[in-house]
């Protein structure tokens, strides 16, 4: 049954006693055409597109905990397509286009909110670097504008222009960027995939691979063995761990990124803002909390919690940029475990192991990728060839040197 204001009214009459489950509580079948490991945004979106666009409906998504319990459920929800390098540009724009019709695709209000993102610059060099990026976007038909300080003062009068340690000179604006309600994205894909017949199996951890002469034929799980023609892993943060079960070593490290939210306050910030002279970016959730974050903690970690120096560093950035938030209180602090790849860009590819496919290395930027990642991974799983927009996210690019290193810092994950 479709969600709409009418169905709401209808159910109000029956005191909301009759709402169906958003997705079935499925238990594992013996065998599937495709098993997707990981019930995060990417895994669920992959299942959805397999079922809807490629007619592959005998699909299971295996989640070790509760769906969305990983990074999909703990990210700062920024969506944007303001990348500057071939490989990324087209892919993230594909994703942005999918975001723009997501509510209709899923019949679920994921609150995609295109309130815009502004990356601030504080020096001529930084301005030119953003100009390079923005121009690359425009060449690819993506919206981008370079704001000077006057334009910025009109849009963001509350920034610290008067007493800035590093002058706030302007910013790169992408108006179509914004945020989406992260949990809703997970639930929306789950419900839509479920309605197409996909089994979403929670509390089902993959503990190993079943292999016949080198090729994967299924997975071992905490809920028994499950056979599969093909297995796709989308286990962000735990990719090395799962890949090791198949004897693979990846160009990936697991790092913690923290995020913070303030007490809910009345509307204060228009869109998404990133500080160019420190580690701080922020937006305001529909609930009213300032949602902000900064740099990763900087050392390998699976602890899913952060430390104090980064929290202080982020708040220093916040106060340097907008001292008006000083008396707003920080309500909660958390962390997520992410795949940090060696060039800061993702991997969507086959693996050297037959029937095993990988979707990994999303670093701190994979939420915005969710729709396109799902579509492209589904494409790869269904057709055994890369989607055109994901054709550079290859596993062997590190060996060949075809790196996609937006930051230009090289093979050191904690610097990306």
């Amino acid at each position: 049954m479709n969600y709409s204001v009418f169905s709401l009214a209808k159910h109000a009459l029956s005191k909301h006693q009759r709402w169906p489950r958003a997705w079935r509580n499925a238990s594992p079948k013996k065998h599937y055409d495709v098993v997707v490991i990981g019930g995060g945004g990417h895994g669920l979106a992959t299942a959805f597109h397999l079922a809807r666009d490629f007619g592959v409906r005998n699909v299971a998504v295996l989640e070790k905990g509760w769906i969305g319990g990983g990074n999909a459920g703990r990210n700062t929800t920024i969506i944007r397509s303001n990348y500057g390098l071939p490989g990324n540009i087209g892919f993230y724009e594909l994703s942005m286009k999918l975001w723009e019709r997501q509510e209709q695709d899923l019949n679920y209000n994921t609150m995609v909110s295109q309130r815009g993102i502004i990356n601030l610059y504080h020096s001529d060099g930084q301005r030119d670097a953003y100009a390079r990026r923005g121009n690359a976007m425009r060449i690819n038909g993506i919206d981008a504008e370079l704001l000077d300080q006057n334009q910025l003062r009109k849009m963001l009068p509350f920034l610290n222009y008067a007493h800035a340690r590093f002058p706030v000179m302007g910013g790169l604006l992408q108006s179509r960027a914004g945020t989406a309600r992260h949990d809703a994205v997970v639930w929306g894909y789950a419900r839509a995939a479920d309605r197409l017949g996909v089994d979403i199996i929670q509390n089902c951890e993959v503990t190993g691979f079943v292999r016949e002469n080198g090729r994967v034929t299924g997975v071992e799980t905490t809920r028994g063995e499950i056979g599969a023609e093909k297995v796709g892993m989308a286990v962000a943060g735990h990719s090395s761990h799962v890949a090791r079960m198949a004897g693979l070593k990846l160009p990936i490290e697991s790092h913690v990124l923290q995020a913070f939210v303030s007490e809910a306050i009345k509307p204060l910030l228009p869109g998404v803002l990133t500080f160019g002279a420190g580690h701080f970016y922020v937006s305001q959730s529909d609930k009213g909390g300032l949602v902000f974050g900064g740099d990763i903690d900087g050392y390998n970690s699976y602890a899913q919690r952060g430390n104090m120096p980064v929290m202080e560093d982020v708040c220093e950035g916040g106060m340097a940029l907008m001292p008006m938030i000083g008396r707003v209180r920080l309500l909660r602090q958390w962390g997520g475990v992410m795949d940090m790849s060696m060039d800061g860009s993702p991997i969507i590819d086959r693996t050297p192991v037959g029937n095993l496919y990988i979707n990994a290395g999303w670093c701190y930027g994979g939420f915005k990728a969710t729709p396109a990642s799902g579509l492209c991974f589904a494409h790869l799983l269904a057709k055994d060839e890369s989607h055109p927009e994901a054709s550079l996210f290859r596993l062997d690019r590190f060996r060949r040197g075809a790196l996609i290193d937006e930051k230009g810092v090289g093979a050191q994950p904690n610097l990306h």
Binding site: V5, A12, N307
Partner: protein, 1022 residues
């Protein structure tokens, strides 16, 4: 040290005096008890709430003062805008939130129950319009049948564009509670570090006992108390310890601790988080109890406390009961009622009904009587507990449950009670004190992800695996009774002292009886039969977010069965009270709906901060101009005197250009500086370049391994340009290195990479090649190093150096480097290197003489019109000269891309050599540095513009590169640029399209040799 003015005893004293004198009692404080309490009746304070003037006493919180003044309605809830009153007496308060203070000091969402009253305090109710009593938002309540949990996920989807335009703005306006000031926070904040053997969190009986035991044993103890008064529940309850009243015992303990030099007592200090390595975060509210912080003092101070051991004695939080109408003003926590009566001498109401499922609630009835109040009834599904048989004689006791409440907007008039037989009686009363049992405060003990475990005896979760070094004591551990708290706290403190290696005697623990604490879980009142129909009010679980028991069940039916899904779907526990009163009730109701046991359902994850913390406190002094330190080069003061314009380069402030009075813009100044150099002579402070002394027998061999070219072969007295790669084969940094002695090289790096290169060299030395004898020292700040450039350079320097020095081309050839004597007895280093392409030297003297060097260069060059120049002119000349710099060394370029391919030695191992050989790094169509000249000299180039094939169609495949460095070349009289362009080296002379839509640039230009100026390099060798 403890703020003695606010210690219980001091206030008792003050009160005695007060009793003697005629009452100094705030006229409007109708509900203030005639006597008792730990408030200072000698210090009346006045404040306003929603513009209405009221009064209270020192020692009050805003909440207690409001109650004493008879204010029942203080706030509106988040979603349905329901009228709400004060529920608790602590940081767990979900209802009584106000906008505190005004203007730039406005603090939204301040909990009236934790705000310490001060004279002139101004508070405003929030999330209501036009007023607290008449709030149109209340219609949401009427619409609640539609606004069920999760409703917005199911609608607002059409038309697609309407979300940003229509629905979202409306939702956002409705959401949020208070407003931020919108202007910079005017107060100062500080950070500090503290170290101790034992950190004690909380100053109740458990905390005080722990501090006493450890302190007596000689341990360095820090005792942090969130409240402005120490004592915890001892301030609220009529306890007896060692034959004295609890409050008196607490005062004794505080006095003893205050007398110990090894103990630091920190009131108004909240330990908000525990992090790795025994590091705890705490916020000290230095000036929040004052109208504004006193001079030279911060508003708040962030403490990083490093503790060998920690005792978490943060107590327990009382649980509301979930029954229809439980959110009405006048319904309060039973423990809070005792706090208001005993500590604040403020009566929430005369006629009190108690609804409890545990023995502690009954003690509220006793407290009410003791305070001269009246017991309307005690309602307990268990009937009268054994322990209270005597006391309860003559009380109206109903074995049953409350199933509804009646009252006005701001007061309770009666409660509906369903008795055991299903009959419903109406009990008139103006306060309902409820107690659902106590939840140990498991926050701090769970922040390292140890999951709390269920304890049936107290029907609550208690700490599970605790962070290393932390032990829990008292109510926080689930030992709810006083005797146990004292004992537990004491032994925890004594143990910590021993573990910290102290042998002193902890003395004796204090003694007290254990009060009854029996409880029978009651997660939700389900009114039987007849009462069922009668009720029909909402039963709230999360008061602030208006999450009801029905909402919990609806979420469960829709499949949000994981407790984490429940939280995210209903927002239960996500309000400013962090679910302190709602989490456990919510998950218990979920467990029942799922037919699970509570421990199976489990808790959500506990995260810091334990209570919300002001963002400014976490930033401390690092804001505004002090966000980061500032580095000043040796000529800074001199340049400032000349009116230089400065630019931030990393942390450095460098002179960007030196404007003259008549010059109309920066370009005019920069052009003048460039031409002055090219036609005469000028100088520029380049001290910010990284400088590293590389010494030791194997210094040469070492540099051979870190540079692509060879340095062991460099002659003493010579300099050589070098390029370093990262191990992945891309360029890391470049610079000139001079050999000053057999075993002494002087390496320079780019300003930006000085730190990273030093770290890299140390790694190579210590981790990769320990066998080499190499020593490294940073000399960046040691030398004032200026570049002196231009035709007349030699003439100028001849004036400055000792006559004995030979600066002729033979005596001091290109790329020579050595020590020289200067007139006036100064020693200096002279390097004949050129960034500008002119005849140039770099001259270095000890940094303290940087100012003098500038003066003396001016003097020595006066005859030649010597001109100081800044970073802009420096950049212009290097671009004219085609030197790659920061913008070209962007982390994506190989030595080949930059034109240094031939420098890469094939005879030795060096960092990055192997990976630089990868196919993609060798492709012929890689970008290369080229020069760019607009066909029309009037066209202005801009950094970041892209290079496309002439009349190309826009699209992914047409992008061929971009402009990295741009300047106006005064010698060529036009804008020129360096660019990284695919196959650039082969394309000199080709016309391309320069595309810069961001700045409306779109014109044609010619690719050319990047060396625009003096390609043969005759001038620098001249």
């Amino acid at each position: 040290m403890a703020d003695i003015a606010h210690s219980p005893a001091a206030l008792k004293r003050a009160e005695a005096e007060a009793a003697a004198k005629p009452r100094a009692r705030g006229a409007s404080q109708a509900r203030r008890l005639a006597g008792g309490g730990l408030i200072d009746r000698q210090k009346p304070l006045s404040f306003t709430f929603d513009g209405k003037r009221m009064s209270g006493f020192a020692g009050d919180t805003l909440a207690s003062a409001l109650l004493a003044s008879g204010v029942g309605l203080v706030a509106r809830s988040f979603k349905y805008h329901r009228p709400r009153g004060v529920l608790t007496a602590g940081p767990e308060e979900p209802n009584a939130l106000v906008e505190l203070r005004t203007g730039a000091r406005l603090e939204p969402n301040s909990k009236a129950t934790t705000v310490e009253l001060f004279d002139g305090l101004v508070a405003k109710s929030q999330n209501r319009w036009p007023s607290l009593r008449h709030d149109v938002g209340a219609v949401n309540g009427a619409l609640s049948p539609l606004f069920v949990v999760g409703f917005y996920y199911k609608t607002f989807m059409w038309p697609p564009k309407a979300w940003e335009k229509l629905y979202e703005p409306a939702i956002r306006r409705a959401a949020g509670l208070g407003s931020a000031s919108g202007v910079p926070d005017p107060d100062h904040y500080e950070k500090a570090w503290a170290h101790c053997d034992l950190l004690v969190v909380g100053s109740g009986p458990a905390g005080l006992s722990a501090a006493l035991a450890a302190g007596r044993a000689g341990a360095r103890v820090i005792l942090c108390e969130n409240d402005f008064m120490l004592g915890g529940r001892l301030l609220s309850d009529a306890f007896e310890i060692d034959g004295r009243s609890g409050a008196e015992w607490a005062q004794g303990a505080i006095d003893e601790l205050a007398g110990m030099p090894n103990v630091r007592i920190m009131p108004r200090t909240t330990v908000f988080g525990g992090y790795d390595g025994g590091t705890y975060g705490a916020v000290e509210r230095v000036g929040d109890h004052l109208p504004q912080p006193s001079e030279h003092q911060p508003r708040q101070r962030l403490w990083r406390i490093v503790a060998k051991r920690t005792v978490d004695a943060s107590g327990a939080i009382e649980r509301p009961l979930v029954f229809p109408g439980n959110d009405r003003p006048g319904v309060m926590m039973a423990g809070a009622v005792r706090t208001y009566l005993n500590r604040f001498a403020a009566s929430p109401g005369r006629r009190v009904a108690v609804f409890t499922n545990n023995d502690d609630g009954w003690r509220t009835a006793q407290a009410v009587l003791a305070a001269g109040g009246e017991i309307a009834a005690v309602i307990d599904p268990r009937g009268v507990p054994e322990a209270f048989r005597m006391a309860a004689a003559g009380w109206r006791v109903i074995e049953g449950e409350v199933v509804g409440t009646k009252g006005t907007l701001d007061a309770l008039t009666s409660v509906e009670v369903a008795d055991a037989r299903g009959g419903v009686v109406t009990v008139p009363c103006d306060v309902l004190a409820m107690s659902g049992g106590w939840n140990p405060a498991v926050g701090l003990s769970s922040f390292h992800r140890g999951r709390p475990v269920w304890k049936d005896e107290i029907a609550a979760f208690v700490p599970g695996k605790c962070p290393t070094g932390l032990t829990v004591a008292g109510a926080a551990k689930g030992d709810l009774s006083l005797g146990a708290c004292l004992q537990e706290g004491f032994s925890a403190g004594a143990k910590a002292a021993v573990e910290a290696g102290l042998s002193g005697s902890p003395g004796e623990p204090a003694q007290a009886a254990d009060e009854p604490v029996a409880v029978r879980a009651l997660w939700e009142v389900k009114a039987p039969g007849k009462a069922g129909q009668k009720a029909g009010q909402k039963a709230f679980v999360d008061f602030q977010h208006d999450v009801t028991a029905d909402d919990v069940r609806l979420a469960q039916r829709e499949g949000f069965e994981s407790v984490e899904h429940l939280k995210r779907y209903t927002t239960l526990g996500m309000a400013t009270d962090q679910g302190k009163t709602s989490n456990v009730n919510g998950l218990a109701i979920l467990a029942e709906a799922k037919g699970e046991k509570i421990p199976e359902t489990g808790t959500t994850i506990y995260r810091p901060p334990q209570v919300p913390v002001a963002i400014a406190a976490l930033a401390g002094p690092n804001r505004d101009e002090h966000f980061h330190a500032t580095r000043l080069p040796p000529s800074h003061h001199w340049a400032a005197k000349r009116g230089a314009v400065f630019v931030d380069v990393g942390l450095w402030k460098r002179a960007q250009w030196y404007p003259l009075a008549h010059e109309k813009d920066w370009l005019e100044s920069v052009n003048r500086e460039v031409l002055a150099v090219r036609n005469g002579v000028g100088f520029c402070d380049v001290s910010t370049l990284g400088k590293i002394d590389v010494r030791g027998r194997d210094a040469g061999a070492f540099l051979d391994r870190v540079y692509i070219n060879t340095f062991s072969s460099l002659a003493v007295g010579k300099a050589r340009y070098g390029v370093m790669l990262r191990e992945d084969g891309f360029v890391m940094d470049d610079g000139t290195t001079s050999r000053l002695a057999e075993d002494h090289y002087f390496v320079t790096t780019t300003t930006a990479k000085a730190g990273p290169v030093m770290q890299h060299l140390e790694f190579c030395r210590q981790a990769l090649w320990p066998e080499l004898d190499v020593q490294l020292a940073s000399a960046t700040d040691q030398w004032a190093q200026f570049s002196v450039a231009g035709l007349k350079t030699r003439d100028l320097l001849q004036n400055l150096v000792d006559p004995a020095e030979d600066l002729s081309n033979e005596g001091f050839p290109f790329m020579a480097a050595r020590e020289v004597k200067l007139r006036g007895g100064m020693r200096a280093r002279l390097f004949r290197i050129s960034f500008s392409g002119e005849l140039a030297f770099e001259i270095a003297v000890p940094a303290r003489f940087g100012g003098s060097l500038a003066e003396n260069l001016m003097q020595a060059g006066a005859a030649f019109g010597v001109t100081p120049y800044g970073t802009e002119a420096l950049g212009t000349m290097r671009i004219e000269k085609g030197h790659a710099a920061g913008a070209e060394l962007n982390g994506w370029t190989t030595a080949g891309d930059l034109g240094f391919g031939k420098m890469m030695s094939k005879k030795k191992d060096f960092i990055g050599r192997v990976m630089a050989g990868r196919e993609e790094l060798q492709r012929p169509d890689r970008p290369a540095v080229v020069g760019v000249k607009p066909l029309n000299p009037a066209d202005r180039l801009r950094g970041g513009a892209h290079v496309l094939p002439r009349n190309a169609k826009l699209g992914p495949d047409t992008d061929q590169g971009f402009l990295t460095s741009v300047c106006f070349s005064p010698v060529l009289g036009r804008w020129i640029a360096l660019a990284l362009v695919a196959r650039g080296r082969e394309r000199h002379g080709e016309v391309v399209r320069i595309y810069d839509p961001l700045r409306n640039g779109d014109f044609e230009a010619e690719l050319c040799n990047p060396v625009f100026y003096d390609p043969e390099g005759a001038r620098q060798r001249g």
